[in-house]
Symmetry: C3
Subunit: 647 residues, 3 copies
């Protein structure tokens, strides 16, 4: 558990570097990320390299024992390079190139740009790959940020056609798979196929899904190119990338597989403001962030690179980019930091050391003010550094629940939501929230991950499943929850021959004959164990001989189970979803404990952490024997406590 910071030596006078490094050390930081936006400073004209400043910057840091994460500078190709090869630019859906002047203006599919990336990453990796202080390399920066995964350039269209030819071998096979006989869309050759964009009404959903898969694959191969070079030149360093919050345009599981560590950039307040949360939640958690936001991503990204996860950028104060930008509660930065560690982060690194007085992010706070004074978070980090030194944690951490999440599920439900606001991401997040509210630790895993050892498996929404998935689930012998739309599509975006849930009907004998989506405000009453609840948004008509656990008033079953496999055919209101989860836990023999509203917990080794996301204090239920290692039973607004577990 280490602390780090993001630093931009190129933005400050060289005479300040040593002072900065000294202060980092005295603050207790161990890791410094640099370099990821420095291309124009490294190579101001083609092949005119200026490495000396970077050499010295690394030297200043290394000399003080700081380790370095070095970023490849490919997120920002410089102006001269764009002018030399304008085909590098990504293209919007109307064919307009996205212009130079901010960042991430390149197209993942530009072969020309890949050559340039290969060139710059190679020279950089050759120069610093052997440096002992450079312990990790970050590829690029925030893939997909500012909606940059999808591009509609000529490069992309060409690469897409190649990708299709590779996938389908023959155009007849493609026509069959996509069902192009519908609306007279049959193709005679791969060369006829465009990206599915700017059509009069929606394009064929299989066409769209393949474009999403293709675009994701382009990110994967773009990243692999850099990883390969770096591994060759820096065999002992970790290769990482910094993912984003609520980012689903490419398959993070696949990119993560090529990395040593999946890191991510945690901005709880910014994502509350720009997210889908209700007005009530936005007011209640204004200066704390939503209680599950950071944890969801910790648990998600921990599942992308064999369990290794860092927070590469931790919000330290108000940011500049959300619709509104309040400040965290006092103590909140410390709480976010400890929460990350509790969820398995090896590193928490703050963005950024010092607020820049210029440029797009000049209103983004840092650990220090632009004039060099300490900003508010500085002292909270200092406290964490001291606590880290004092705290001993032993034992291992095992989450009892697996929540299965698939990026492809999100693409499929985005392409045809059927109800305007249906989101498999929000639904998965909602399931995750309810699980945490009842005190459970959760691993968010890919459908390809091993599910061995979990006591409960929740699949909120997996429209497509691999052939082996049903038998994998069958072999587990633990309760499994399959949510709506699971098994509803084939790999080619078709309704399965046997109707949904397709192959999963081998686990539970039912089929879905009809789907209703309901506008906000419309709902159906269901009865479960004598109590009435509402279900919303989505209602499947299920044909089955099974006796449902809950039904609508006119007798449609919405929750079925067969042995340990459960199928939930609707979107329950939170209170009913909790009942569903509680029943599954009971069946699993899992102990649960409902936390105070707005509080969450996580076990790390032999410590139980509790995080109070409320803007008021809470008091943990009296439990005489608890030994508190951090805080105490009364947890202040935005605060934490950690007590020892005696297993």
């Amino acid at each position: 558990m280490k602390l780090g910071v993001c630093y931009y030596p190129e933005q400050w006078p060289e005479e300040q570097w040593a002072k900065d490094a000294d202060e980092m050390v005295s603050l207790g930081l161990q890791l410094v990320r640099i370099g990821e936006f420095s291309w124009s400073r490294i190579e101001s004209e083609r092949n005119q390299f200026t490495w000396e400043w970077l050499d010295r910057a690394i030297q200043v840091l290394a000399a003080r024992g700081l380790n370095i994460v070095l970023g490849s500078p490919t997120a920002c190709p410089p102006r001269w390079l764009i002018d030399e090869c304008p085909e590098i630019l990504a293209t919007d859906e109307y064919g307009n190139p996205r212009k130079f002047g901010s960042r991430r203006h390149y197209c993942f599919s530009s072969r020309r740009y890949r050559e340039e990336c290969e060139r710059i990453v190679t020279v950089m990796a050759q120069r610093y790959g052997g440096h002992p202080a450079v312990v990790a390399w970050q590829t690029d920066n925030e893939y997909g940020c500012h909606e940059t995964t999808l591009s509609y350039s000529k490069s992309a269209a060409d690469a897409f056609r190649d990708w299709l030819a590779e996938r389908y071998k023959s155009v007849e096979q493609l026509n069959e798979s996509w069902g192009t006989v519908f609306w007279s869309q049959e193709y005679q050759s791969f060369g006829e196929i465009d990206p599915p964009v700017a059509t009069v009404t929606e394009a064929n959903p299989a066409h769209q899904l393949d474009y999403r898969r293709f675009a994701s694959d382009e990110v994967v191969s773009f990243n692999q190119l850099q990883v390969k070079i770096i591994r060759h030149c820096a065999p002992n360093a970790d290769v990482i990338h910094n993912f984003m919050g609520f980012s689903t345009d490419f398959d993070h599981h696949e990119v993560g597989r090529d990395l040593d560590v999946s890191t991510w950039d945690s901005y709880p307040l910014g994502f509350l403001e720009q997210g889908w949360f209700s007005e009530k939640e936005k007011q209640a958690y204004l200066r704390q962030g939503h209680p599950d936001f950071a944890a969801f991503h910790h648990d998600l990204y921990r599942g992308c690179s064999n369990g290794r996860m860092w927070v590469m950028e931790q919000q330290p104060g108000p940011v500049n980019w959300a619709p509104y930008n309040p400040a965290p509660l006092p103590g909140m930065v410390r709480t976010w930091t400890w929460e990350a560690f509790a969820h398995g982060a090896e590193v928490v690194s703050y963005f950024r050391w010092r607020q820049a007085p210029f440029g797009q992010e000049q209103m983004h706070s840092g650990l220090n003010l632009p004039n060099g004074d300490r900003d508010t978070a500085f002292d909270e980090v200092l406290q964490v550094a001291q606590e880290l030194e004092e705290l001993t944690i032993t034992g291992s951490t095992i989450a009892p629940v697996a929540l299965v999440w698939s990026y492809q599920a999100q693409w499929i439900t985005q392409i045809q939501p059927q109800g305007e606001n249906f989101s498999s991401l929000i639904w998965a997040y909602t399931c995750y929230s309810v699980l945490r509210e009842i005190g459970l630790d959760v691993d968010i895993v890919s459908p390809q991950a091993s599910l061995e050892g979990y006591q409960l498996v929740v699949c909120p929404c997996l429209p497509t499943v691999d052939e082996s998935f049903p038998s994998t689930l069958a072999s587990l012998d633990v309760p499994v929850l399959l949510g709506m739309r699971t098994g509803s599509k084939t790999e080619n975006y078709q309704i399965p021959r046997e109707l949904p849930p397709g192959p999963l009907s081998s686990l539970i004998p039912l089929k879905v004959s009809r789907v209703e989506s309901l506008r906000p405000g419309a709902s159906e009453a269901v009865v479960y164990e004598g109590k009435h609840y509402q279900v919303e948004q989505w209602l499947e008509w299920v044909d089955s001989d099974l006796l449902p656990l809950a039904s609508t008033e006119d007798g449609k079953g919405v929750w079925f189970h067969h042995n340990k496999v459960h199928y939930l055919a609707t979107w329950p209101e939170p209170g009913f979803l909790r009942e569903v989860m509680l029943r599954l836990c009971k069946q699993a023999g899992l102990a649960v404990g409902v936390l105070p509203e707005g509080a969450r917990s996580r076990r790390l080794g032999d410590l139980q952490f509790v995080f109070n996301y409320n803007n008021h204090a809470i008091r943990l239920p009296d439990n005489g024997g608890r030994v508190f290692r951090l805080g105490q039973p009364e947890i202040p607004a935005g605060g934490i406590a950690a007590y020892k577990i005696n297993d």
Copy 2:
């Protein structure tokens, strides 16, 4: 009164066709529409025709006594054709071509595409024109769907200039008519005139109106081209087209004039969700549709082709394309079907026989599920088929009220609504609703239609009227209601010299000197017969010596009458509009009877149908002697009843 279905043999294995046809017959269907999206399957490369499959499909259906509606496949020009002549594509207002990959991507003004349509329709009509089972031909599919009436291609611009030259003869005449001296817009030649699009602020309204007229004329002539070929090759078949709901971008009266039957596609739930209805209505009628939606279109399209009307596509379950897609109430499909017949439909045809498991509409339900099982509506259709056999209806149906509707009125009020949300369509629909709520049957007719024989004529909003219209109205000697904006513009989109209502002031001596549009929430109180009501949205200042029937509190008359001609200068709240209609009915000697809220009625021959659009049962007022042929006085949610009328 026949039942039919839409069927896509090209989407299913040939071995299934016979089984499908057998089941159609046993369900009681008599008509099957096929072919309208089959171009790529018919002609996979230029002049490489594959008719055999279609021959066999027709044969399979015909052999079982099913009649066929054959669709010309021009709504979906195939990929190879687009690649050969990209100028076929329609163009958006920024000059971007609308891309291949869905449907309706062609431009009505492409002369090249007209040649191609002529070619494909000719070969198709020559092949099947004489087939005895092919009893009707559908031109294209849903003209204007996905906002495709207006295109801004070079073809369209060129054709527009020719259209203008034909209309105005000299550019001086155009300048005079449009008032181009305003803002220095005078033209020196027709060649200088662009489509009125992408201007800095609004373009000249007369310019805009002419573009709307031109675009409508292009649809008319596009359709005529096909009609002419089909009539030549299939002289005994009906030529039809399937219109849409709330579709006003081209003049359906003019297209309908060239057809034998105006058919339309009735999706009551989809149009409730995507329509302008209030949140309250969307909740109350969630699974029924708005009570006047289907009827309005039945009555409208019945007026387009000399009284002949079909429902070509009837919603059978949830659709895929509305913001939210609930399922109809049990029995609702039967109710919609009977309602169509009661309003004069000769055919009700369901879309579609079997839900497709692939393509854009895979979530659109049919009479059968993708796996071949019956879907819910199947049994309701079966019931209708049986009822049709058993029911005898005698006598003719005459609606006592004419509601005059003009497509041009809609264009004029869209071009300059004056108040942001003013819609002559919504206003006409509102008038129609109130008339039906008081139990009246209504014909919706064009301003060119004969008004002889009606007992009441309602003109909700006719900004322009033909020269002869005032004398036509004067000759009727029945109550006439002229709504706001009627007579407010000349043919050239100018304010008439004598001020509104222009030539109609010969019928009622008043003039409109000023117009106010009011934001939502703003209203004026009016007093009528001692009661207070609110008027909203629109308030005209009327100069007249007539004593108003109702006035605002500060004395502005809002409702005038002179002999039997009434002028309504505002948008009354529903309760007040009902009072207006009731007074007119009284003057007309028309019997009215207010129905329970959410119920509607329609007389067909000697039967009075009552439709319960509520989601709860209603009971018709006790009326001992009524003989019920369908249902009974207690009508369930979404149900119908029909009783015999003893005139």
Copy 3:
């Protein structure tokens, strides 16, 4: 104090001109604006001039003693000119030219268009510059209307690069000033720099600010070109331009400096409907306009051309261009007219003499109806004309309060609002409203204006200040209020080295270390003199040894003062803002008197005017001795009164 009207002889038969002119005279008008949209009528082809009609029109007016404001016709280059040089057209942010067909389609940066303007203005000014009746010239029409200040044409891009080269001399200096090291944006030459548009995420804010400055400078130089020609040919005429409401895209102070009179177009109802006002205000002031709208602009534009201000276009009835277009209350046109005079207008001119029956503005009312009858406002103008003859006003008018307004402040806060809805314009307007509610007369002045003689200076938000500004303020020895964000940026859009308020910290010892923006509904409670208030939107964390006058509940000072300089670090609710202003007034020794809600006052010479913007009557507090020259203590809805002040 004169009355005038806008007139378009080219739109009416010549035989009507004399009658119109006679009626203008009998109505009491003295000034007539003509010609500003007449280019296509003056020059129908290149160098084919038709002056005769204009000669005669001027003659008809002049013969009756009417003075003329002649408009240069450059707001509407005719079609033939656009076809000859399409590069005249402005270009939107996606590179699409804005099309011919409405108005203001030219690009300010087109050098070709400037030549054409020079040509047409020269011939026009040579022809009419010496005409004794042409007492004023209007350059162009409503610069910036329809968002036309910013264009992204090639001409604009080229001119921007020249502008940058002139400003920064070297690209190194530009890189340094903009901080282009951020995100690797360093430039090697001025030629590499594009307009800051269509970037993937926001462009560098200094880049954006310079583009805003450049675009404003283009308007200034475009206007200067015409002014220079007119002054040469018509040395005795006033040169004017007609500004708009809430128009901030170019620096009106700078354009105004080149004019003799800043005139503006006052449409209180249109701007209420399309403005930011609350739903409650939009309902309450539906037919009156917001009580501060007209006054704000009178006071603002009076500060642009050495105190000379006219209303060039006064709304006379419903307009056509707002989302909703109600009519003014009876008497409201008279009230608006008197209010303009009370605020120093030399001329109030109505738009327009007669409503046009054709063209885009056919639903815009005038003093007369299209058929020649008088419209409602006619009689109100007649009344004003008579009152003007009867009323004697003596003495001078001096406003005690200066409110400092900067266009650059608006650009800076638009570029990075930090909170989505932050607007320095709304904030300045809010401060202005509160000052007027407590009965104060206000001059709105530029930061470069002299502040001598004012008793109170309010700077709502000035992110950048000139070097001399702090010492100017220091020398005044009157209370000064500095609002949030003042001094928060350098000239190069950077945070000042010493933190905000930068150089102004010499006046009050504090610094702003952090900024929070708050979503609507979020607020902080503050205590001032024992009472609780809320502050919203914006909250600065201020470091200072000063004892705050008000603080949040957790102790953050939000209002500080040091001697007479006050700093307000937040956006107070109206009641609290009033307390702030009242305290400042007390410190200034300024008498205040809270007016009835919805009423406003203004002193003109020895008369105190009171305007009742309510839709109900009010009664001024009894004050026996008052001698009323207009109206009486009971002021009707939308009415005025004026009484003599005995100083």
